[in-house]
Amino acid sequence: MKRISVYLSFVFCLVAISPCLAQNDFAHAEMDSLQKVLARQRTTKDSLIVVQKLVDFTPVRSDETLSYPDHYKMLLDLNEKIKLIDPAPYQLMLEGNRYWAKREYNKSLRSFQQAVELFDKQHKVIFPLLINLRILYNFLNDQGARLGYFQKKLEYYLVNGPYENTAPCYHGIAGYYLYKGAYNQAINNYMKGAEVFRKFEPTFYVQILYVLGMTYNQWGNFDKARYYAGKALPLSQKQNDTSGINYGYNTLSQIEFNAGRYDEAMKFADQCIRTLSKNVTQRVVSIFTTKAGIYLKLNQPDLALPLLNKAQRWTDSAGFKTVSSVGYTEIDYDFYEYYISKGNTGEAEKALLTAYKKSSNEQGVPLQLKYARELGYFYQKHNQPEKSERYFEQYFKVYDAQEAGLHDFKVAQYEIDQNDRAQRDHISQLKQEKAVQDYELGRRNALLWGSLVVLALISALLVFIYRQLQINKKTLISLRKTQRQLIQSEKMASLGELTAGIAHEIQNPLNFVNNFAEINVELLDEMATELKSGDKDEAVAIASDIRQNLEKIRHHGQRADGIVKGMLQHSRASNNTKEPTDVNKLADEYLRLAYHGLRAKDKSFNAGLETNFDAGLPLANLVPQDIGRVLLNLFTNAFYATEQKKKLLAANYSPVVIVSTGIENGQIKIRVRDNGTGIPEHIKEKIMQPFFTTKPTGEGTGLGLSMSYDILVKGHGGSIDIDSKEGEYTEFIIHIPI
């Protein structure tokens, strides 16, 4: 594709630099190869890309025929299938091409300009299209509008880019000055254009060097003209650019001709003719005419005539102009000189008048002046003073008009530099303003996008939070349910631990009740016997025993009753009713329950029980079943710890659990101490956490201490502290406000 673009660049450069030349010879050959490239593309996308390149880099042909209109249609048709590019500017280009073909140049110009505006929005490199516009302005001969348009576009591209698009703008502006004969400004702008092209399009850069040579030639500075054309020619040869080389020889031939170095001019003319393409173009006509002119200057009119006749024929058929980018093609003037040399005054006059007329029609001021003056001299020489005077007048009229037009351009270099500097400053300022605008826009966009992103995030967060809340709500309900179940499980688990102990505890009082009841029955019989036998004292003694026994029966009955009540209280959900409670009794009751419970489960279990109850302990206002649950838990843990240690130490260890009560700082203090395994330092912090347990899976719920903490701290405003040394002892210290 790189190669294609090079070819294309080359093609359009030629077209651009020689607006009045027909490019059929070269362009057709390259287009054919591109058509082959296009034919090889298999996918719609690849085909579209090649066609787009063709369209983008092929300016409209300057010979007033459409350049490959099929490509535009193909591009639009392919794009219709895959919608890869914005078709609007290409539709406008197609439209512009069609108007061009119908010679409706105004409409064509408008369509192309609209296409330019659309492409500018895409920031696209479109210098071939801009070159087309330059050619259209030439056709319309609207040099003022041309200057205005290209100055506006130049400023736009200098500020906004792309930089490449500034080159055809400079070229367009230069052309205006050239038409006006303001060579200084023309050359300035050509040079600026050349500088831009030099950086990215070497072929076009070389072509502008030739134009510079031609312009200096017309201005009369042949050294400068030679310098630029001479600089360009080796570059064309290096680029292997046959058309460029040919153009170079043509330019050099004209320069040397004007400089009066006819031998040199002839040499270049011959080299030019040798390198011509087969097709007849303006350049062919130009070089033939130049060569004819050289023969005439060398007083060889017979050699000039066939060349002039050929040139005349081609011009008549193709409508070539006298003034073009390849210089002046002065066929009629050469005929004039030919007829003068042959002494044919009549034909000479006719030829000179034709030349003058054409130059007037084409508004080529320098030739108009040249021919008017020549006519003045001609008629003066042939004794026609009136006509002579008229043409001299015409000469001065055109001259004055030109001078008047040039007044505006008669500016000292210093001022031109100043203006350039001012323009550069203006552009810099515009660039700065644009940068500020871009920054502001970027900032606003960033702010806008940022706000949108933040808004989106907040929305997402809100949705997330809302959903989480919903989930949490459900989870909370589920958790509460589970918590209730767990608490119940914990209660039931501890109840299970108690069952055997309770059975034992109830069994004993029941035994006493039964035994004492049986004894009393026996004693009553005995008493009856004694009364019958008249042993009254013995009967009274027996009655006393019966009474004592009944007392025992009541005591043990109450004992059993208390145990059953305690059991029910333990399993029942707490009603949180605080009541004055004997803590000593409560502790003793639960200690026994815990002990017997464990004994029931593990026959090998045993531990010494020590109780140091403070007899003077006041009743404490608490929820008995809750505190009972706490104590039961602590006792069970204490027994568990001693049991674990026993497994390690066996015979040399005497497990002991000591329960003490007392008063401290106006609070009930209960201490539960065991000489078991102790609590490792690293888990001390965790033991109050729910579900934390050191027991094997399935043996502990991990809720015992956590529930105890809640009951004591939250339920009773009390506290629970731990003192432990690993491997030696653990002491839980409870404080409950009275």
Binding site: A503, H504, Q507, N511, N515, F516, K552, R599, K603, L609
Partner: protein, 127 residues
């Protein structure tokens, strides 16, 4: 004819005295009571020669009946026979341990005093 009853239940004392009031009255049996294994050992230190039978509970806080049995067997050359009282929930494990440590007989709680009387009489007769 001293019989030592070891049980952590204090009311076992009036119960035995009531149950065996006739035998006590007639001087057939003489009961002493200890509320723990430790108390029982302490009593035996002073009175072991008088004690002809020890009746002990197994499940007691501190020293258990089994430990007490073991200590007696190790401490005295001619220890008195020991009858173990086993509660309902004390199963074969306790029974096996007691046998291994030299228990002479077993009784299950709640005590059948008629049976107990027979056993005691048998032991005393043997003695």
């Amino acid at each position: 004819m001293k019989i030592l009853v070891v049980d952590d239940e204090a009311d076992i004392q009036p119960l035995f005295i009531q149950r065996f009031r006739q035998e006590i009255k007639h001087g057939d049996f003489d009961f002493s009571f200890a509320l723990s294994g430790e108390e029982a050992l302490s009593y035996l230190e002073k009175n072991h020669s008088e004690v002809v039978l020890i009746l002990s509970d197994i499940n007691m806080p501190g020293m258990t009946g089994i430990e007490l049995l073991s200590r007696i067997r190790h401490q005295y050359e001619k220890p008195p026979p020991v009858v173990m009282m086993i509660t309902a929930y004390n199963d074969d494990e306790n029974r096996n341990q007691a046998i291994q440590n030299g228990a002479n007989e077993f009784l299950t709680k709640p005590l059948d005093f008629a049976l107990l009387k027979e056993k005691l009489k048998t032991f005393i007769h043997k003695d």
